[in-house]
Amino acid sequence: MMIAFMAVWGMVSCTKERVLNEPGNLVPRTVDQDPGLPSIFVNNALLHAEAFGHPDSTLIVVIHGGPGSDYRDLLTSKSLAAHGYRVVFYDQRGSGLSQRFPHKYYTSLGRGAVDLMYDELSGVIAHFRTEVNQKVYLVGHSWGGILAAGYTGKNPDKVDGLVVAEPGGLKWEDIETYVKESRSFSLWSELFNDAGFIEQFISGKTDQHEILDYRAGMLGSKNDITGDDAPVPGNAWRAGAVINAAMFEVGDKYHPDFSAGLEQFQPPVLFLYSGRNKVYTSAWAQHIAGAFKNVQLCKVQGVGHEGIIANSGAWSTITEPNILKYFQSL
């Protein structure tokens, strides 16, 4: 053991020192570290964002999950631009390639941390809107669906159409139940082992974003409970570990209700859920969708939670046709 240690020590000493939290080493740089990335400045945060389609067309804002995921695997839906829409993608603050903030930045706002995310969405819409009467449709996946629903309940007159894809829940108790069940890996499984054993190698301290994001990204390869049982190459840029932990802390403490005000929203809502997610049964979908006044449920067969939008086959044959039909009905 001593000889092996000394050999490695000698080898390491002779090579260039690499540090885990050096930007760019293990995870990509964020927009504030790499000016070459497309970005917008909204509500005091530099956000990674892109838009496709004619600027004056109806806006479709695609909202990613997490909190702390990114829009990379939702880019499948940019094909909506070919149907005459302006499709907007953005990484929420602290997520993907957008600017990072400390844990306390969110938690010090208390219940207001959720409002921060609503205000950010308002800012994104305002940034891309070219005229006051331009229609706005929201498409939210997972946490993005929760955020889109909460925003719509608060601003029913500012949203013209709403598509949600497997929001875990809209009331905090439902979100807790969904998250717990979707991560109930067997103690003996490879998935649990992959998630836990790595913590001996990399621990990271509060707000060491590069390290914490890297470790969080290691867990995102697959989840056979939610039907995402095969890793998908290039499905994400970078996890946002700090905002994820902070928002769950805020949720645990304040139990936000993302269904509040939805009874004021008049247009129908398209509610998508997947065929392979073992937790998101039809009964669960109906339970969550009950918060909407007028809702159309659509089961996307053959994919799991992530595949509803990200899977190109499911997107082109099931999800996109249903979304287009829904938009045309509005």
Binding site: M1, M2, I3, A4, F5, M6, V8, W9, M11, V12, T15, K16, E17, R18, V19, L20, G24, N25, L26, V27, P28, L187, W188, S189, E190, L191, F192, N193, D194, A195, G196, F197, I198, E199, Q200, F201, I202, S203, G204, K205, T206, G217, M218, S221, K222, P231, P233, G234, N235, A236, W237, R238
Partner: protein, 217 residues
């Protein structure tokens, strides 16, 4: 600092939970098996040999721990080191443990090889047939080699492979251990809490535990 640690761990090694009071009755060699929680569900094998260092009783051992899961041997932890009893007064005894650690981790994105260290102190009441003690220690990942897969490179093509230092991680642990001896056999149980090195974050599995059986020959 690391070199000193390594030299010490090379001369003094250690492994399983030891009843120091029963050592005179045991034969020189001990082998053991264990099942436990150690950032995963782990199976363990250990070998030990009792020695005397500067007139103090000590133990040299090597351990191999493998987590459960469908992929065998993609992850493991091996330890080599020593434990020495420094203080004893009637039934009370205090021992220190120093181990060198080599571990491997692999998932769809990365393979990591790590050299680290594990330091611990144990104090408690030891009788001929049983013991109960408290332990506290720090497991540090000192230097780690990263090699990323094509799947991770599809996610981030500019990831930098190679050795990363200084310390890439560390976890404190503290808990209790107890054991019973009968002839050359013994069973032991230990359990406790794990905290990340910043004392603020809890690991996914914030507890450790191990039940083991050893036999001397």
């Amino acid at each position: 600092m690391i070199s000193v640690t390594l030299m010490v761990s090379g001369y003094l090694s250690m492994a399983q939970t030891v009843n120091w009071r029963a050592m005179p009755d045991l034969k020189k060699n001990i082998i053991g098996i264990s099942l436990g929680l150690d950032h995963s569900v782990s199976y363990g094998l250990s070998y030990g040999r009792s020695v005397t260092v500067a007139k103090l009783p000590a133990f040299i051992t090597a351990e191999f721990l493998m987590p459960s899961g469908e992929e065998k041997l993609d992850d493991f932890k091996s330890k080599a080191g020593g434990q020495i009893r420094l203080i004893h007064y009637r039934g009370f005894q205090f021992s220190a443990r120093v181990q060198g650690v080599f571990r491997r981790y692999q998932n769809d994105f990365v393979r990591m090889l790590n050299f680290g260290s594990d330091f611990a102190g144990t104090a408690g009441l030891y009788q001929k047939k049983w013991f109960i003690a408290a332990e506290s220690g720090f497991d540090k990942a000192i230097v780690t080699h990263f090699k990323h897969s094509a799947l991770y490179r599809a996610k981030y093509g500019n990831v930098v492979d190679g050795w990363y230092e200084p310390s890439t991680g560390g976890n404190f642990y503290y808990g209790i251990q107890t054991g019973f001896n009968f002839k050359s056999h013994s069973v032991y149980l230990k359990a406790g809490s794990v905290r990340s090195q910043d004392f603020k974050t809890k690991p996914l599995l914030p507890y450790y535990g191990q039940v083991g059986y050893t036999i001397s020959f």
